[in-house]
């Protein structure tokens, strides 16, 4: 059976189920008695098994089958959840994840049988229930609810189908050839998102055994998803019905399949049959009512009634409809590029408009300006919409962290808890894709270096369980992600000694360093403070990678730490990557753009207001002492002969630090498209973060003021 076209759906869904399982197992560990969680796990494991089975991934299917077995017992109160079981379950998840990775790469699940894990699962099962792992038991349990419900809820809708002459002919011919005719109705789970795909999988599975002759709704309608949650068909085959029912049920998200062998003669006697059917339906209705009575009662104590659980299955917590379209990120990039071009074109119109005032008649010019403003509104709106399309919540990245911290907690033998807020904070897709590793590093760093071991924490009067916080929120044009812990904090003396020891600085230099400068050593390549190298960290390839990764995304990292109380890493990321609002300035006739996001105020000062602190120029303004940076000197421009009396200073801000940039002229605000300088130009100082094309075709450089602090 060719299922390759469903591979992507499979991968996506498996990912979803795995995450779900991971979350549930985490909460199960805290609350082992919670039946809702156990049921959720059972369902997820069951869906995984079904999906793996459909796709023909036998090893994955076997593993999930055994997981399901264990939960079957847990659910029936035959065994309890132990921490050992949770460990093994996490191993299972990792193993399934490994299968999934293989599937992603090669469309094969790989050859690792994971016998050890399966063995452990079965051992736990045996120990927990007090008997040998009874594999045969399982299908029986599964079969039972299916049959019960099949009688009540699922009618044989295929009996209602009316045939065309052509179809009748085909049915007749098939029967004459000695094939058996079957009528079947398939019910799809109501929360299924891709009904057509499921229907297709069922048809594929069935067509291995014979030919489908009649579809209801028509195959075209099924393909277009123009059907409810069931569809019926007749087909001719030489195989037995059971086999066919089995393969169709194996397709995931199929709730039930009902079917039986039919005779051509019976079918053609349609009128008679229909009356009978109506009667049958009435009978079934009655049966259903009878059957319905015990169900609510059973629902009251679900742990003893797996049937009731299965009945509830379709409504389990998932959003029923999801009006989304998947779009290739490259298409979005192309769209973004076009928006960028549009903005450049708009900017050139703006610049023509502002220069051609004299030439054009004044009434024309007025209309022209109005239209340009209109165009400006549209392009800005368009840009925002495209940006929003590219925004995704960071949730997809951070949701794996609780599990990671749990594993670290075991591995490092420290008690710790992760508290996360702001998982719904949105960032550009490209940023989200690359933020995972740096954040993971920071969390590991907090867990390993930050938090003290339990005894020390007790001694210091801190709660035994260390806490790590991950907070994300938006601040202006930036998204801030803070990773903080209540651990030891950074011992700057220690770091300084290490730096001296490694010959990075002399002891004299060390004495003059500020705390921040010392902490910056931690971000240097191969500078590790860990006394021994562990699996977790200590190879000195942590924080420098974090820093360079985040800087590559146009962001930066800051650390604050109080010895004995903990440390906080603040990651600042730009909301958008491609287009920003910027202030255009001129320095010695050269044009530069400064992102509006980092500008605090613009001040006119007199030259004699400049004071000196430690031989550096500062200004004292509204109670703040702000260091001044002369951009012409910084950017190696030709020095100006005469000092001007009045200076334009742009006050920029990074976090809680300020600096004043002296520029010659302000050229107003503009929406600019950021373009890379390319790989040739050595930009090691990173002062220039890119370039942009102005309306008149000139190129202006974009100053990254974050590098000035």
């Amino acid at each position: 059976m060719d299922v390759s076209q469903y591979l992507e759906i499979f991968i996506d869904e498996t990912n979803g189920h795995l995450q779900n399982l991971s979350d549930c197992i985490m909460s199960l560990e805290k609350d082992p008695e919670n039946m809702d969680t156990i049921n959720e796990i059972f369902r997820a494991a069951h869906s995984l098994k079904g999906m793996a089975g459909t796709m023909g991934f036998k090893r994955m299917q076997r593993l999930t089958h055994d997981m399901e077995n264990v939960f079957q017992e847990v659910r029936s109160n035959n065994m309890s959840v132990t921490s050992g079981l949770v460990d093994v379950l996490f191993q299972c998840l990792d193993a399934i994840d490994a299968y999934l990775e293989n599937v992603k790469e090669s469309s094969e699940e790989g050859t690792d049988d994971n016998e050890a894990i399966i063995q452990e699962l079965n051992d736990i099962l045996a120990a927990g229930t007090g008997n040998a792992p009874a594999k045969e038991e399982k299908p029986a349990v599964k079969e039972e609810p299916a049959q019960n419900e099949g009688e009540d809820r699922f009618q044989k809708k295929y009996l209602d189908i009316e045939f065309s002459e052509k179809e009748k002919e085909e049915l007749r011919v098939s029967e004459e050839k000695g094939m058996k005719l079957y009528g079947m109705t398939v019910y799809i789970q109501e929360d299924c998102l891709l009904k057509a795909a499921r229907a297709f999988l069922v048809f594929k599975a069935v067509e291995d055994f014979g030919n489908i002759i009649v579809y209801n709704p028509t195959s075209q309608d099924i393909e277009d998803e123009k059907f409810g949650f069931d569809f019926s068909f007749y087909f001719a085959s030489e195989t037995e019905l059971d086999k066919i029912l089995e393969v169709s049920k194996a397709v995931s998200e199929i709730e039930e399949v009902v079917g039986e062998k039919v005779e051509y003669k019976e079918l053609t006697a349609a009128a008679a049959k229909k009356e009978e059917e109506a009667a049958a339906a009435a009978r079934e209705q009655e049966q259903k009512k009878e059957a319905a009575a015990p169900v609510p009662a059973a629902g009251a104590k679900p742990q003893t009634q797996p049937q009731a659980q299965n009945g509830k299955k379709p409504n389990a917590g998932k959003p029923v409809t999801n009006r989304t379209v998947r779009v290739d990120i490259e298409k979005l990039d192309a769209l973004m590029n076009q928006v960028s071009e549009l903005i450049i074109a708009k900017n050139s119109l703006v610049s023509i408009g502002s220069t051609s005032d004299g030439g054009v008649g004044s009434s024309n010019s007025q209309a022209f300006h109005e239209q340009i403003e209109y165009l400006e509104r549209i392009t800005t709106g368009l840009h925002e919409s495209v940006m929003k399309v590219r925004m995704v919540p960071i949730e997809s990245v951070v949701q794996k962290f609780p599990r990671m911290i749990r594993d670290l907690s075991k591995k490092l033998d420290k008690k710790m808890e992760l508290h996360m807020t702001g998982e719904d904070t949105e960032l550009d897709r490209t940023v989200v894709d690359q933020i995972g590793d740096p954040l993971q590093h920071l969390l590991r760093n907090s867990a390993d270096h930050g938090l003290e071991n339990t005894e020390l924490r007790k001694k210091r009067g801190k709660p035994e369980t260390g806490s790590i916080h991950l907070n994300a929120f938006q601040e202006g044009n930036n998204v801030i992600i803070e990773v903080s812990d209540d651990g030891n904090g950074i011992d700057t003396e220690n770091v300084k000694n290490k730096a001296i020891e490694r010959g990075l600085i002399t002891p004299e230099q060390g004495a003059a360093l500020s705390q921040k400068e010392i902490i910056d050593f931690l971000f240097m390549p191969s500078f590790s403070m860990a006394k021994q190298i562990s699996d977790v960290s200590g190879r000195g390839v942590g924080l420098d990678v974090v820093k360079s990764n985040i800087e590559a995304l146009g962001g930066d990292v800051e650390v604050k730490s109080i010895l004995g109380e903990g440390s906080k890493f603040t990651v600042r990321l730009p909301l958008t990557l491609a287009i920003i609002q910027a202030l255009m300035v001129e320095v010695r006739g050269e044009k530069y753009a400064i992102s509006l996001g980092s500008i605090e105020t613009i001040e006119e000062i007199m030259a004699d207001e400049i004071k000196f602190v430690q031989a550096k120029e500062v200004i004292h303004i509204r109670g703040m002492v702000i260091p001044l940076i002369r951009l012409d000197q910084l950017l190696d421009c030709e020095p100006e002969e005469e000092e001007k009396e009045s200076l334009t200073v742009i006050i920029v801000r990074k976090g809680d630090k300020f600096a004043g940039l002296i520029v010659d002229e302000l050229n107003g605000q503009q929406e600019i498209v950021i373009k890379s300088l390319g790989k040739y130009i050595n930009n090691s100082t990173k002062i220039i973060s890119g370039a942009t094309v102005l309306g008149d075709g000139e190129v202006a450089l974009i100053l990254d003021v974050n590098t000035l602090f």
Binding site: E590, G678, K679, Y680, N682, N683, I687, V699
Partner: protein, 154 residues
């Protein structure tokens, strides 16, 4: 390598002949994307000395290199025949080279090209991987890869 260049016929290659100072140089035509007139170059602070800056080529930002500075010749003098040769190099992207003048396109066969031995002492010859003979004129052939090489000390 610069040697696996476009083959015109029987191993013949085409070169764009440019003038830098008094010497004639050939640039393998398969690397040349475009030739544009001199235009305003935006200086990039803190860049390598031989990068004059960047230009806007139909909305693309293209870095422009002064091959004179790179070869330790006297600085560029811009005239109305000065051109920027836009090179397109796989992986590395687009790069502009300032030349004094663009003369012609020549086709050279293997027998018309003499290989030049690598001379570590002479930084200028490092950019040349052959000398082409076209009539009575000699054309130094640029090794495009070594032009973009970053090993040179700034």
């Amino acid at each position: 390598m610069a040697n696996n260049i476009s083959v015109v016929e029987n191993g013949k290659k085409q070169f764009i002949v440019v003038k830098i100072g008094s010497e004639q140089y050939g640039i393998d035509i398969s690397y040349v994307d475009n030739i544009v007139r001199m235009q305003k170059i935006t200086r990039v602070p803190k860049a390598q000395s031989y990068f004059k800056g960047i230009i806007n080529l139909r909305g693309e930002i293209v870095p422009v290199m002064s091959i004179r500075t790179k070869m330790d010749l006297e600085p560029d003098v811009f005239t109305d025949v000065t051109r920027i040769i836009i090179l397109k190099l796989e992986e590395h992207g687009v790069l502009g080279l300032i030349v004094d003048e663009v003369k012609e396109v020549v086709t050279l066969g293997p027998d018309e090209i003499d290989k030049v031995a690598y001379d570590a002492k002479n930084s200028k010859s490092n950019f040349i991987n052959g000398v082409g003979k076209h009539g009575d004129e000699l054309i130094s052939l640029f090794d495009t890869n070594s032009i973009i090489d970053e090993t040179e000390t700034v």
